[in-house]
């Protein structure tokens, strides 16, 4: 796992050749639950079931819901990682300048 792959998984997974079809639909589930929940319908579940068992879908869905809630909450608390990308222990003020504002993936237009 690399930062480049993380960014591609967030910003460009649908068009990327670095993700399998199963990975792409799991990423789409996480995106849609947050920003376009009406699109998570029976047809979407039919597609999910081509790649995942019902047990795996529950694992994914609960994981996504948990993270959806907590990342928003943590975002309001304005705390930032204790370490810089190169491993230095940094102040909250410096960390904020390094890591910046909310992830663009949480913006509604990301699912368009």
């Amino acid at each position: 796992m690399s930062e480049a792959l993380l960014d591609e998984g967030i910003d460009n997974y649908a068009a990327s050749e670095r993700f399998t079809a199963a990975e792409k639909i799991a990423l789409r589930y996480s995106e849609l639950m947050s920003v376009k929940p009406d699109a998570v319908d029976a047809n979407f579940f039919e597609e999910l079931r081509k790649y995942y068992s019902d047990d795996e879908i529950v694992e994914l869905g609960a994981f996504i819901g948990f993270n959806l809630g907590y990342h928003t909450f943590f975002g309001t608390l304005k705390f930032y990682p204790l370490f810089s990308p190169d491993g230095r222990l940094v102040s909250q003020a410096e960390s904020e300048t390094i890591y910046g504002a909310a992830p663009t993936s949480l913006k509604p237009e990301a699912a368009e």
Binding site: P37, E59, A62, G65, F66, Y70, T72, F74
Partner: protein
């Protein structure tokens, strides 16, 4: 019916999970459907059920207020499952449907009689997923005039967790039996 079929109760053999499902049924939130669905992911089911029950029915914030906040969040999430469930404990403490609706839709109205502390907590739930940018330093400073930092963490974690689980159940198209 949910997109994912819940496990039959008799298929759930973990005694801790069975006890938590029974605890939820006694409280009314969640009913057995949530436990029987998350039982499909057994490593997650026990901590999820425990967190759901503890964050709602225990802690140092009034349970009736948290019940209103929970329903406000479920309604905002568009989740018919959690929005339709009611805590028997909150009902026994005197919480009515009228008060729930007032707390969800009119808590800022002076005539409804919510305290400043309750209004601030309800605003916290209202804004978290509507416009989190408003939950800034000034908002947290106001929260601190009514609530301890421990209570704010209790409320924030409660809001985050229950909204997340409401969105999860919405994604499954789940509806309560009753």
């Amino acid at each position: 019916m949910s997109h994912i079929a819940p496990l039959p109760k008799e298929a759930i053999t973990n005694p801790e999970l069975r006890a938590l499902i029974a605890e939820g049924e006694a409280l009314g939130v969640p009913d057995d459907l949530f436990g029987r669905i998350v039982a499909r992911a057994p490593e997650q089911a026990v901590p999820l059920m425990r967190a759901l029950l503890m964050s709602h029915a225990q802690g140092h914030v009034d349970h009736k207020l948290k019940e209103i906040m929970r329903i406000l969040l479920a309604r905002f999430a568009g989740d018919k499952y959690f929005a339709s469930l009611r805590s028997s404990k909150a009902r026994a403490m005197g919480l009515t449907e009228t008060r729930i609706d007032e707390g969800c839709y009119a808590y800022e109205d002076d005539s409804k009689g919510f305290s400043e502390a309750e209004r601030c907590a309800l605003r916290y739930a209202d804004l978290m997923f509507l416009d989190a940018a408003q939950l800034d330093k000034a908002f947290y400073d106001e929260m601190k005039t009514y609530w301890s930092e421990a209570q704010i963490m209790e409320l924030g974690a409660f809001i985050a967790f229950h909204y997340g689980m409401a969105m999860f159940m919405r994604s499954l198209g789940a509806k309560a039996a009753g």
